[in-house]
Symmetry: D3
Subunit: 272 residues, 6 copies
């Protein structure tokens, strides 16, 4: 039986404006496992049933080594048992080292990247590892065969040049009513920056950008994926900006919906 | 002239995770009658005009008797003058005794049940009166001729068996874009659990379930009802989880829109 | 090159229920110029590039004169260089004196008025300058050739009489799914009351009215305008009711999107 | 046996900056009677025991008459059974009509007035009934034999002149460490403006003035009163400024501590 | 070198009003280890230096056994290496099984119990394991030689009888200005219910009781202990009631100050 | 007549964990000048009377030059008219360049530094301009004759070495009950980091450190100064962490109390 692997990534050292996402993993887990909620995805998979979740704990960063190596190794270990993996927390910079290991195991993936920002700066504040730059690295290194960005609404002219350079499929928030129909062939990786959602749904992010997707729309995107999802990250949850814990609850819900699609690869309509 | 009866139901003794909804009635009333807002429904009925609202106060629970009896009797008394009734507050468990009295007066009603959860457990935590179980009781006892649930997104496998058993029309949140067109024949009862709304619109609920209906969608559902609405409950407002009083304002708005449809039974489009 | 003029209007003396909007201008500016965000509108105009914004500061009210005269003179001065103007803050009462000067420069404009309330009372609490009355004054004086109100959901019977009297095009919130297509001919003025948005998106307003437009919908309305926008106001932001500064961020985002359309008068689709 | 009379005063029409205190009475009651808390005062009186509280409901203002008359009559009726009375809610303006009836029954009382502001303006914004002026009226009319103000920290020069004129004993917040020892002879009336507390303890007030008393200090003042307390008001709770309902809880606690001293007139030390 | 053992106790199944404290452990850890703060106690012990903290993770409750046994065994294992232990989270009910194991290792301890409530009910809502009853069990079973309760301010008459029966030293909040000087002889155990603090300092508790200790006073109590501290619990943090994460920060601070006293048993004045 | 000069310093580029204090100046001004409050200090000086405040606006940082030079020059210009100066906002790093200009005008001053942290690191994260290091620079350069730090409660061992090196008078929070009596001879400069206050009073800071001073205690410290105060800064207000705007109100109150002491150099007791 397919299980769902989880791995926390408590790292926010490349955030440009404020830190906080390093504190996200335990808070998302607290909501995910709380008695307050049921464990079923909308597609009918009970993720909290015995043995479904394989929790690999958090990446440890305290040994003084390069954190990028630590993330790569921990992701590689978490992928080892062969189950799909969702990483919890961290800022968006962590997607680069995660993809290094995902690529090693699965080859170039199609990335569904939900975000307000393209995160394609060649470097930001002279930092090539910036949380504003991971997809420049990922595309340069050929870690993805396809990059589909959905929900964009804070695009710098530099980004538009990168769209061309890397062949990015950029779907702006203003073109999301109704949502575009996406088709994927090979293995899919979801990179979910919570600021892709509207701040009314997910206020707990470092850079709130009004005009985003609703939680419903993000779930609809997830449930529409018609190819195996091998990995996902849920990043940029910043508890220091949250209102009454709302965003942790949203993150946990999205873990359940992505996990439900991973464990049960049939499209959502089959579950009703 | 048709009036609108109100009755507070300050009871949350069957909540499974946290209490608070017992405190809702006065807070909803405070928003409903505040000088901050006008009294007109969107369909053009001024609910705050003299003599429109007949407020029956709150059910009293201090006499040591069975609270279910107290609710039944108070609802029966509030229905006595023949006007439609909206009950304010309480957890969802209270819908069962309310329906007992509604059924006695109006016979089996069609229920439009807006909620994130089906609330159809045979029992929850061994409690058959649990706020997770009222519709199992209601359907067993034949208090409703039809149960239409809208906005569901936390469905346990046990619920799906109950859907079959009771012939429930379950419309999940993921099938609400666009909203389904509903048709009702006989008298309609609305059971409105505020967690049917998305937590961005109604954060003040014990069990936030992201991905829900917008306030606008709930109003649209209400305004689309083409049959007499004889009763309604607005339940599960938990002020202890609210953010800046937002959910009390939403509850009061929904009282006005349901009340507007009750007092003026013409469909909404006729009012514009 | 077209620039964007800004002017703060820190005045809330005609608010009927609570004050606060006088404090809005510096808070909107803080969000607009914060390093936390980029400066590009979704239509590709970088408003924070050198020389694009011409900030005229705030209207000064401390000289003891009539504040309406102060607003008129300051708006006239801010319009003098010939650039489009967005005023920041204040309650909705300030739109009347602003329009006096806009009319003097541009003649009768078409007003796109986004709001939960028509603000057409002949007077409110005996105050003809009330924030519930500016459009009665504006239409009486012929300052606008057309008044299109979008997002209405708190309409008093008196308002419906005023709709007739002034030929107002009233588009209620319940008729905004999907949004109506608007066509404008002459110069357009946008009067944006933040309570036109749903309180989930903009909680920081004196009179929260659930069931409103999403931020996305308001941006879509703005980007759909196919005529020159000569002026705009963003009013009724009340920081004393806000949650975690969310509404200031929304206001700043809307400045960017309106400004983007003003500076680059091509419709939004041309920018992608 | 002495009982405790309660009366809600939902009136805020004389507030100078923002309204909201009219909504306070039901919210304070919700906290007072919530199952979340016990009913015992610190001095050992169980206020929630059967028959201790005699709730006279709220003053009704809907008959179009002078609200001051309505308050006077309702207070007179609530005092009629001969028990001490605590009024809940309203802005500070209501203390004047309350004292009219208190004076009629008890003659001139000693007032312990806890507040950040002296509320002694002859008139404010030309309104002699302003919430900034009640004690000017009370002292002019000789309704009190003594006025002791504690916690003051926003004193206008006009107030200092009034201190002289009326012989006010003004104890500023900066002279409250340690608290002064107060001695009262005749019947005492407590007028408790919640902004006398520090905003960290009571954020839900229209005019937050940092540097105030702690809740502990206010309780200590109450428990130190060595004369019969015949009446009290708890005013200026503004739910629209509150944070997570904190101030309603504080108000309910203070009802219990004042009520405990009223019902059990022995000084607090006797209860331990 | 003395280390500090930590153990999370995610259990709130005996809470009477609302659940939530089961979610506390990861949130307290997130604050304790955040880069936002330094790791030094005020007494000069750097708890975040390598090897000082020995984290035993959380008690696991998923095996279907009696949770009380699970707590006892986990505490026994955490005490095994011989270091003092602080448990994180849970409601106050967990103190009973914790003390079972503490007693087995250290014999009867002196308990410094900081709380708004005595938690001495023989049973509450018929539950002898209620979070309102642990100290009845502990004293009956002779697990403590002495019980000193500080900060009490919600005392039921039943509690006063239990004070007598068990020889409790009850120090009420109203007798804490100034704080009493405490003297301990044998090993000390601190049971720290966060509702002992004033809600202004620690709003994130299920039962807010205004008039409590300041964070400063609690730290002063901790630093005044002149005997070895062998164990401590920090209970009743309920993240669902918190405001902006304030209470998690307070809990982490108190871990540091208790830990600083445990690791460095010299009284605080020696560290300055 | 002495006036009070104000200058905003919107800079937070040297913050180690999160940005935000750059946005503080307009928010503090909004509270300072709001109609919600009076303008009198507790010592009887009306700061909002005509001509008392001389507002020099904000330091401009947009010219690409060294921001430290910009601050120095702007402070020098603001000191030019000879009035005492309070700077508003920024992180604590800005105190160094401010003191450069204060020293140039007034020579070495006595600094009363209120803070949770000593801010004496030689460098932090390799940044000698860090907001954790300004007082290392100030003392090295001899800009102060005396450094009195009050409210400390997060002291690293490195700091204790710096205390010795620079002869710092370090008064920890645990030694502030009661407050120490301070005596100053020459001109005094107040450097007020809002995290010196307890987070219950000032939650809007980047690094909340529970156990701090109350607002009352900080005012008492200010009012106890018996020497001329020539300058002050109010730093580290981070609106992104604030709760309901509480900290902006506290900052504005402290401007009034410091300003009251500056303009009226007599000690506070003389004003009563």
């Amino acid at each position: 039986m397919t299980k769902l692997s989880l791995l926390g990534v408590p790292h926010d050292g490349n955030s440009s404006f404020m830190r906080g996402p390093a504190e996200a993993p335990p808070l998302i887990r607290a909501e995910l496992f709380s008695d307050c909620y049921g464990g079923s995805s909308e597609t009918g998979v009970d993720l909290l049933a015995d043995g479904v979740i394989l929790d690999h704990g958090d990446v440890a960063f305290d040994d003084g080594g390069d954190p990028w190596t630590a993330i790569e190794l921990a992701v590689a270990a978490a992928l080892e048992p062969g189950h799909p993996l969702i990483t919890l927390g961290g800022d968006h910079a962590v997607t680069w080292p995660i993809l290094m290991s995902v690529h090693r195991r699965h080859g170039p993936v199609s990335i569904l990247h939900i975000d307000a920002h393209p995160d394609l700066y060649d470097a930001y504040q002279d930092n090539p590892r910036s949380h504003a730059s991971p997809f420049a690295r990922i595309m340069e290194q050929g870690l993805a065969s396809r990059l589909v960005q959905v929900g964009l609404r804070a695009i710098h002219p530099d980004h538009r040049a990168q769209f061309e350079r890397f062949g990015v499929e950029a779907i702006e928030a203003r073109h999301c009513s109704p949502l575009p129909k996406l088709r994927f062939d090979g293995p899919v990786y979801i990179s979910l920056d919570l600021d892709g959602l509207d701040p009314s749904c997910a206020p707990g992010v470092s850079h709130r950008e009004p005009g985003g997707l609703t939680t419903r729309q993000v779930i609809e995107l997830i449930q529409s994926i018609d190819a195996p999802i091998v990995g996902a990250d849920i990043v940029e949850y910043n508890p220091r900006c949250d209102l009454g814990g709302m965003t942790a609850t949203v993150a946990a819900k999205l873990v359940k919906e992505i996990g439900g699609m991973m464990v049960n690869a049939r499209p959502a309509s089959a579950g009703s």
